[in-house]
Subunit: 119 residues, 2 copies
DNA sequence: TGACAATATGCGCATGCGCTCATATAAATC
DNA sequence: GATTTATATGAGCGCATGCGCATATTGTCA
């Protein structure tokens, strides 16, 4: 089974991107369209340094795309699979904790209106 | 955005389970049916201690189900969404690294025969 | 009851990782 | 060129986590 090690490492690295609350906030911020670093900082409430670090990491991983416009840099989702995974997990968690209504409602906010009904 | 913090934490915790190679090996070992701890240890090549730790964690998270049979304990997948996520990521990674054929072939091993053709 | 097999757990270590402070780079504006 | 705005980066800290060794727990069988 050793020859599969690089496979497991790659998959683990992929999931690692989404295993951090701040990065998930960033995904949530840019999933509807590209955003400036400043916008992301404002939306997430995280430090500029910290946001920049995570953005750099996500860009290196191929998750986010960069676009420079003068002074500022716009980030957008480069890997739609990431969004798909987030939606899947949100649906799953929402169904798991049916008793906790407020949290469920918040989770469903992540779904586009169309799929909100389906769930 | 602060009121969404518990949501992001929950989603991050969910993905965290899959962000570790050894736990992915365990998922791969039990995804086709329940297995004994000893069997999982043999299949993954990891230490008994380490496997037991990960199994306990995954069980506490609701990912795996336990079943005691005399001396030994059988673990099985309790959350099918986890498998779905793994398949999604495997497909994604395989398509990303088209040039690295050997790795791609190994990734596709994770898919059931039916979907292997679809991908 | 004693010995052996299967699984879990306390403890300590080492590494990774997220975070912050200060500073560096880059572009715009004066 | 100097200042201001926007973003990135080096250094260091603290904590979480994966791991292994030894040992505890639980069950089986003689």
């Amino acid at each position: 089974m050793d020859e599969l090690d690089p496979v497991f490492d790659a998959v683990a690295a992929y999931f690692s991107v989404l295993s951090e609350p701040t990065r998930l906030k960033i995904m949530h911020a840019v999933c509807m369209g590209e955003k400036t670093v400043s916008q992301i900082v404002a939306e997430t409430g995280a430090t500029q340094t910290n946001v920049s670090r995570h953005l750099g990491l996500m860009h290196r991983q191929g998750v986010l795309a960069r676009r420079r416009n003068g002074n500022q840099i716009h980030y957008s989702v480069a890997d739609p699979t990431m969004i798909e995974l987030c939606r899947t997990v949100c649906i799953r968690i929402a169904s798991t904790i049916d008793e906790r209504r407020p949290l469920k409602k918040q989770l469903l906010k992540f779904l586009p209106p169309a799929r909100k009904r389906a769930a």
